[in-house]
Structure formats: structure tokens, C-alpha cells
Subunit: 337 residues, 4 copies
């Protein structure tokens, strides 16, 4: 961490300040006196040093972090890709996994029907929402525990591992048979939930928040990992910008950045990123070309009658065609890298 | 709700679609055939109608909501200002309340010392964090239950009602002696928490999320209110934009907008909105001039040694001077309106 | 255009308002009385109707546009792809064109050297800045007219058509030998410049502004086209968001959206979109996978000594490897579509 | 400027790199070797040092600027407030000036009528658009030169100095009788225009761009000032964010920040910042409370029939009431400071 002091600071003030910092944070402080400013380098384990506290000293002009504030998710300290094995299906390490299914689980027939059809078309994971975060209290809130039961029935019928969202740490026990627990964008900084998931041994699919930076997303992964759970999948699902044509703006750059800064696998959700059916195909292909390890796609047998997210769901027939194209793209990428 | 159909839709398709909508949502549908497009008006209680589902029909071009999707917080159905009385101090209805105190409760001496000094300078409410949402798992997480106990001691010592943040519905019982429960920006769409707070009878101070719209904020208030708890204070605390000079961008327009669209009192937090001590004064004055019912200001006796948010805290001496200016501004506003 | 009136408006007010609108804009007005609101449909040529003026009438609640405000760039009225032929190289219509070269033209040796090397690796167009828009008045402003001369020398040496940026309508005469005139992001809404370019018969590469919507970009293209110049290439080069890791955020969704809404070819600039050398490859591949008709890539023989944009330039060697991968991706895309 | 090198860089590489920098930019380089990283301090006149070029060296991890990149507009080198005297009316230095008038000049009667009425209510400057930047080529583009003539007639009739927007350097001669030349938000980075305005001796009102940072705005002022024209007024008019309720989001914090970082006067335009008539009052009051030196308010005698910006214009009657409140607020502020 580099601390730049104000230009009118005296040598005595510098010494006094350096002393306070050394004691408070148990770090070494290297001082470099320049003509226009004095620069301090804080050396040692600075991940707990609070930039805000340092900035509050009256002698300080600005503070810059040199080391990333995340350790366990950092590729520098863990150069190999994390590969997560779910019932034999590998996420990360060169394989491309497609997770498909409806926004909301609605009935036994619906979820099993969709599961069977997307499995036939190449999806290995079944996604489906049982607990649904909805902006309006008057909108369908999901079948909740019943929805989890229906997902398990679909898993039994098809053998597909299931991915579904958790909305409260109180529900963790209900998720015992779930294969991958999803943390939604709105809960990415629900730190009490992240802490609890750190003590659980299931893979966590962590969605980037609507307006969270790449670094904040990695810090949320660090929360889970620092609790002991190292099976984390990052998910880019679009961020909030001024553009209103799409529901969100897919930050496709996040894919190679997450993969460079961390060792975690990265999945892209083109359905939420766009909110528009006809954009799911080009965004899926772009995500694969950017290096994604997987895709999470909303598929519904009857989008206009879906209880949620109808406007962004593809039909099983559309999914079958899309899946073929994704496969072609995935092969091209393997030949490139 | 207005549904505009595609230009090539036949009369039969229009009739069929109108029929489906009528049955699915129990609303009336008025059809207007134009030269270039057919427009349907959905009449009745449309708050549960899902725009996404409507958009998913192949005949639909676009959908526009005419009525606001919130009812209980809507000023149209509740024209009078909500005034919340906390131990005799009124929030809303023309009074200006100042809530002041440290970002984090750190010790008995600290919290009681700050409480006494801000009370002397004009603050009626004591704010202080016990459960702290922090981006990094390695940062100070608050004294948690112990912090709540210290806040109660400060309340006993001064008589000031206390405002403090809740991070999980599991902690509600611990908040029994808290006067105003704060929902932080990162939990504004933690719907499971909002639902629980709807069943509690304490005032809730609901902070606008980092990247949430005014409408989404009102919908989160609607969650709480639809559960039965009508004592809600909205809080504007800055939104995330591209500008990096400030920690967030204070959306001062949100104050008059919240007050026009809803009947709820509105408080502004200039400390989080800016993240910079010297901006707290101009933003406090601007908030009052825009019509805010209250201010929430971080005050710390020793900002450089604060365990969190040092860079944006004012000292008790600075607060005393600021409080005088806020009072002058508040009087000017009363003479204007 | 749909105008929704306030709920308390009388029939007389509706009739009076409809009358004013009919006369002012020469459009037909269809009125539909509902229980809760009255809806007017404006029929005819509404592209000159000003939403702001309509909104200012006291009887109006909200106004929604049904038809797109752009006509000449609209695919609805021009279903076939526009293909722009520049010296035999086609932009649009299924071909992928790579435009490569330095941010700034610096010397004869530099520009000819880079031109020859990128041509050998597969680029058909030479890009290079002569007039440089720089945030700081103290930064290198480009070689200006001399830079244009050097570009022409490179064109003579290699036969590559040249693409370079114009910063003022006063310079149009200087651009006589330029093949494609670029309008930079900061001038996308310099309407006086756009009008002048509408009277010129050269292809215009129009970059999307830093914070301009897709619709605004199409409206700027409409400015040029309504002046008579129909040879427009749209360019997505990243938008400004809250994320600071990258210089801008590539809005990859803009590629399929521009191509659906308009008939114009779309090029992507991964160099400015990211500002980081190692992101140029994944973003180039993602752009092709999303359907881009071309790429514009900054290549410099010695990035650290570049007079501008060093951090985002690739070397000729890196470009050669990248170009191969882009070709593989382009073939894969052809097999998909 | 602080350059942090990668952790695996050798001493030889450091020496070689430092040498290159010294020669290229004529600055001194102070080297500080730490355990984890080597830090270089560049000392001297670094305003022309290009961060991008430095970042492109393979040994560099990150670069941080210590000194602001602007000099002439910097308060550090010019501690006293700039006060601009226009026909005896002072902008800056404690006075509050109100600039009022229609979005567009439409006719002699309109502009003289509005001028007389806003003058009576307390406005000292007349604003009005002759050259109008419009998103659509089909919208009213202003009366152009004729509009300037009408403004001069209004000036002759009332004695009010006039403020109006320039859209191209080609028009500068037409602006000879204009008192304050406005650069609109869309031209804030039209650097060729800024350079020309630097050679003119009239006050320039520089509007912040839709998505430009505070630093970029100051750099654009630096462009004008480095050309020799020191009479610059900064104008905050709202920035583009994800919030759609308002046309833009007023960044009220920009007022105290501009005044701290620079010595230039700051004016706020609440009309464009909100786009909504009923928000003009609270935003005007908030701007004054935040320390603005002036306000620029759109006033139209008949908003629904305005040729542009009807939805955000107040009537002369509304303006008279608003002006009184602004005066009360201004007095309150003088008693506070």
C-alpha cells in the first residue's frame, strides 16, 4: 500500500504518522522523501488495512493499494484453475457446461418436461427457481420448499444435477439435496448469507451484483472461501448501466478478467444479461468466445405463460438449435487456444 | 397498463390475445385499432400483472405501465404525510431530525461520549453500527450483539433513541430495544429480510440500494408495508455512477421525488453519499434545501483511529458548527414553504 | 405515439387537447376512454413530434413512442444489409474486415512499417490518427495535416484504404484522399459536424459516444443519412459505466441490436473498449461471435514509446497471432449462420 | 507521479526503465526498493507525462498521478476566486446570479416578453438558444443567426447581458455581441472548438458533459484557459446515470468540489438536470445551499407550445415565485458562511 502525504507535511509529522501505522497494523513502513511529496510504502500483510482510516489522517493526500485485497481467490497464490466436479460433470478446466431450465419451477410436469428436453439437447445441469427474489411483493414468489422437492424429482428422473437460488441462510437445510447453490445478484453482498455458505461444503454459484465491481465480486467470493468452502463458480449476468434497451448490460470483459485475477470458473447468464429472447444466442456465443466455462440459459416450454421472466426465455426447440451452435463455437475455441 | 401490438397482427390474433389476458389476470381489456398499430388498455387491478409475461407473447411490441406498481406507499391513495413518532421525536410532517453518531460502535466510552456531545449540539437520534456490512471479510465486522448492548447503555445515559442496522432476519430478537431498525443499502432487495420486518412494529429506516431506482426503492418499502408495518423512513445515501471523486453520487433529486410519489418521510445520509469529510456540510445543507425530513451524519471523536469509515466522519467540534448551520437552513426553509 | 392523460381530465379537455395536437403536428388522433385513464394514439408521421412538448401539457400523464424516431437507418424500411465497398473491400454482407494500425501516426517509417506488417497478417484497412482528441491540452495532439500526408504515403506503399478521425468540419477538404472518415466518440453528437458529413460522399465510421444510448447512436447516423450520405458504419467502442478495471465497458449486445434495428454494418473497437492489451484478444473473438462485420485494432511497433494509447496497443507479432484466431472464429461463425 | 513496478523486476531493469523515463519526459526519478515492490516517484513537471505510455512498459504494475493534471484552473496555483464581471454583474465572489429565459428563441415578441418578465422577477442574465443541438435531425434546430439577432434586440430592450450556445467554431464571428458564450454538454470535449474559444476574450460558460468526470470538465476548462481566455464559468447540468425518472441526475456534490479544486465560478442548471418542471424549485434551492454562484433556469411563457424542452420550463409566474425563494435561500447562505 502506497500512502502519499500532503506537500506541506514536516519530517516530524511523517515520523509520527509512520509510527502510528506501524503499531496499529503491524506492517513495515518505508519512507521516500521527494521534492514535492513524501511517499510511504506499507509492507507486510496489508489486507486488513482500512484505506478509509488511513485517508482520515490529516497528513494524508491519497492512498493506493498495490496488492489485491483478496488472497484465497487470487490466481497469484493459486495459479492452477479450480475445477469443480459435480456428479462427474466438470466446471472449469476446459470443459463447457450448459445449465438450462425455467426461471421458476411451476409444476412437476413442467420441470421434468423441460429437464428431459434440455438434457436431450446438450444441457448437463438443470436450473430452476424455487425461492424467487421479485421486485414486487405482489408478484409470484416461487413455490419455495415445494419447488425444491419438484427439482429433486426432476433430478431423479434425469440424473441431472440441479442449480437453484438460496435467499436466506435460514433455508440452508432445505438445500441438502441441491447440487449447486446459487447466490443471486441482489444477495451478492448479503454478507451474513455468504458467511454461512462458507461453512457448507456445496459448490456455490455466485452471481455478480447489479452494480458491483469485479473486485467486489471477488471479495464476496473471498468471504465464502475464507469460511472454508473453496468450491465457487463466478457468474456474470449483466450490470446496470444507463442503456435501457436491454434489461442489463452484459460485461463480457468480466469473463477474461475474472479468469486472469482468480482461479475460479466463470459462467455467463445471457438470459438475465439481456432480458430479450433474441439476444440469448449472440450473447451465448460471445460468452464462449470470451472464454466462459459455462452458460446458464432460461428455457420455458410456454414463455408467454411463464410465471416469471417470460420475455427472456427460449423454447426447448430454440434451445436445441442454440445448443448446436454453442457446441460449434466451443470446438472452434478449443482449436484456437 | 397499455399493450401495443405489432403492426402485422390480425384481428383474430388480437381477440385471442385479449381473451387470454382477461382470464389470466382478471382485468378488462379495451382495444383500440389504429392505422399503424393496435393498442390494448388493461383496466382493473394490474399490480400483479407481470410485464415480462405480457412481452413474451409473439403479438406484443411493447408494454407500458400506467399505474404505479406500488399501492400502500403511494401518495395517491394516502395523501397525508406519514409522521413517525419515536419517543416524542417526530420524523416527517415539517420537523427536521438529525441522527448522528459513529459508523461503528467501538467501546462504551466512545459511544456514550459521542452521544452526549452530539446531543448537546442538536442531534436527537443516536446512530451507530453494531452489525457492519464490510466488503472485505478481513475488515472489522462490528461488535455485533455487544455493540447493541453498548448502544442501549448510551440510550440509557442520554435518553436518545437509537438507530442501528440489521443484517439478517435471524437477529430481529436482538433488536428489541432498538428504536429505529436500519436496512442497509446492500440489503435493500434482501426480500426475505424485508418480509420479516413487515411483521415487526418498529420504525424501519430503509436505505436506497447502490444502484436501485426510485421505483425499486418504493417497491422495497411496499414489501415492508404489505406485511403490516407502516412505519417506514426512506433514506437517500448516494448512488453508484461513473464519477470516482466521491464514494457515491448523492441523488438530491430523490428527496422531492420520494416525497411527491409517496407519503413517507425522507432522510439523507451525506456521509456515505460523499465519503469525504469536507463534503458533509454542503451536502447536508443541500439536502435540507431539497426538503429532507432528516439527516444521518457520521461523527467520530478520533476519525483516523475509527475502525471504519474514518475518511467521511466529522469530529464532534465540526458537528457542532455544522448543526448550527443546518438549523439556520431549516429555519430559512420553513419561511420559504 | 401513445399519450396517456391524467385520470381527472374531463371529456372537454380531452377534445380540446386532441384538437391542438392534430393541428400542430398534422397527425390523426384516436381517443380511447378507459375507466382509469384516457389514452390517445397519434397516427401519421410522428417523427417530428416532440415528446417534451406533449409532456408539458397539464392534462398529460406520460407519453410513449411506438415508432422508432429514425427512418432512414431503420431496417423496417430498408430490410437488406447495407454493404459498403471501399476499393473492393466490402464492409457488411457477411465479410469480416480488420482495420489495424497505430493510435497516432508518428512518422513515415512508423506508419509504413506498421501498415506493411498488419497487411501481411490479414488486415485490409489501415487505421491511424492524425487529428487526436486528447483530454489534456498538454498531451500530444497528433501530426494533423502532416499525419494525413503520411497516411497517404502508407496507402500508396501498400494499397490499403485508410481510416482516420475528423475533429472539425473545417478540415473536410484535407480528408479528400481519406477512404473512411471516422467520427470519434466525443463528437458523436457534434451535430454541425454530422450535418456537413451528410453532404460528403465518403463512408463514415461513426463511433458510439461514451454515454450514448443505442437509439441516440442511430439518431446520429440518421443525421448523416438525412443529409444524403448513406455510407455509414457503426462502431461500438465501449461505454462508460461504474466499473473501473477497464477503460470502458464493451457493450457486446450493441452488435446484434444495431444489426436488428438498422441495416448498417457494425464494427467493434476492442482496444478502446478495454484499454488493456491482454483484453484485446478475448474481446475481438467475442465481437466476432456476436456478429460484428469488422474489428478496429490498435497496433504499435513499440507500445511503451507510443505517443498515445500505449497501454492498449498490441505489437505486430501479437497482432499476427490474434489475426489467425480471428480468422478461425470467423469461419466458425460462417458455419453457424 | 508514482509508478509501482512488478514484483519480479530486477535492479537492472529498474535502472534501465528509470533512465528511459528521465530522458523521455525530462523529470527526476526517485527509486524506493521495498520487499514486495519497487516504487518510483517522478518529480518535476509531469503534466505532459502520459499514464498510458508508462503503463505499456512491461515492468510496470500500476501508475498513480499525485499532482492534478490541470494547472491554470487549479486553486492550488490561484487561491483567490475568479470573479467575472459582465456589464457590471459579477459571477463568483459571493454574488448569486440568475440566468433565465427560454430553451429556444422563437420570435421577437417571445424573447423580449420573457426577458422583461424574468428581469422584473430578479434575473440579471437572459438565456436563450439560437443554435440548438437536437438528438433528432427532424426536430427544430433553432433560428440560428436570426435567433442571435433577436437576442440582441432583447438585450437592447432590457439591458440584460445574453448567454447563448455555440455549436461550431465557424460561428464565432456571429457571437460578437453575445456576452457569455455557452459550450453545451455535448460539445464539452469538442477540443477544436475549445481551442478556438481560448483565443477569444469573452466569458465562456462550460457545461459538464453528460458522462464526463469532474476532472475531465476541469481539463476542458484548462484547454480554454491554456489558450489565453481566463473567463470561464463551470456549469453542472446533471449527469447520465441508470435512474430514468429524471432526464439526468443532478450531481450537486460537483458544486463544492469544483469550487475546492478550482478558482472558477460554478453555475447550476436545474432545468436540464431534471427535465421536470416541478423539480426546478427544490433543485434550485439545493444548488444554492451547496454553494452555487448562479442558476440557469428555463422559462417559457407557454411551455406546451415551446419548440423545445417544454416539459422542463417554468412559466414567468412560477419563476417569479421561485426567484423569491431563491433570494431567501441566498440570504440564509450568506448568514451561514
Amino acid at each position: 500500500m502506497i500512502v502519499i502525504l500532503k506537500s506541506d507535511v514536516t519530517k516530524e509529522q511523517v515520523a509520527e504518522f509512520a509510527d502510528v501505522i506501524k503499531k496499529k497494523y503491524s506492517v513495515d513502513v518505508h519512507t521516500s522523501f521527494g521534492e514535492q511529496s513524501t511517499v510511504l510504502g506499507l509492507v507486510g500483510d496489508t489486507k486488513a488495512v482500512d484505506i478509509d482510516s488511513i485517508s482520515a489522517f490529516s497528513v494524508v493526500e491519497t492512498v493506493h493499494r498495490v496488492q489485491e485485497p483478496y488472497k484465497k481467490v487470487n490466481r497469484k497464490f493459486h495459479p492452477d484453475d479450480t475445477v469443480i466436479d459435480v456428479n462427474g460433470y466438470k466446471i472449469g478446466g476446459g470443459e463447457l457446461q450448459i445449465m438450462a431450465g425455467p426461471c421458476s419451477v411451476e409444476s412437476k410436469e413442467q420441470i421434468i418436461g423441460i429437464a428431459e428436453s434440455v438434457q436431450k439437447s446438450g444441457a448437463n445441469f438443470l436450473r430452476g427457481g424455487a425461492f424467487k427474489p421479485r421486485t414486487s411483493p405482489y408478484a409470484f414468489q416461487g413455490l419455495r420448499a415445494t419447488g425444491l422437492d419438484l427439482l429433486k424429482e426432476a433430478k431423479n428422473a434425469t440424473g441431472m444435477p440441479i442449480v437453484t437460488e438460496i435467499m436466506s441462510a435460514d433455508h440452508i437445510e432445505l438445500f441438502e439435496d441441491v447440487d449447486v447453490i446459487q447466490v443471486g445478484a441482489r444477495n451478492m453482498q448479503n454478507f451474513e448469507l455468504l458467511k454461512e455458505l462458507g461453512h457448507c461444503n456445496k459448490p456455490i454459484l455466485l452471481k455478480r451484483g447489479l452494480a458491483n465491481t469485479i473486485e467486489e465480486t471477488l471479495m464476496s467470493a473471498e468471504y465464502i472461501m475464507s469460511g472454508g468452502n473453496e468450491n465457487i463458480i463466478l457468474c456474470e449476468r449483466g450490470i446496470r448501466t444507463y442503456e435501457t434497451f436491454t434489461r442489463n448490460t452484459l460485461d463480457v470483459s468480466a469473463v477474461p478478467i475474472f479468469k486472469k485475477l482468480s482461479h475460479l470458473p466463470v459462467v455467463v447468464d445471457p438470459s438475465h444479461a439481456s432480458g430479450i429472447t433474441w439476444l440469448v444466442e449472440p450473447l451465448s456465443l460471445a460468452a464462449v468466445a470470451a472464454g466462459a466455462d459455462g452458460l446458464m440459459i432460461e428455457v420455458h416450454n410456454d414463455p408467454p405463460h411463464a410465471l416469471s421472466d417470460g420475455a427472456q426465455s427460449v423454447t426447448p426447440e430454440q434451445f436445441a438449435r442454440l445448443s448446436d451452435k454453442i457446441l460449434t463455437m466451443s470446438h472452434a475455441m478449443k482449436s484456437i487456444c
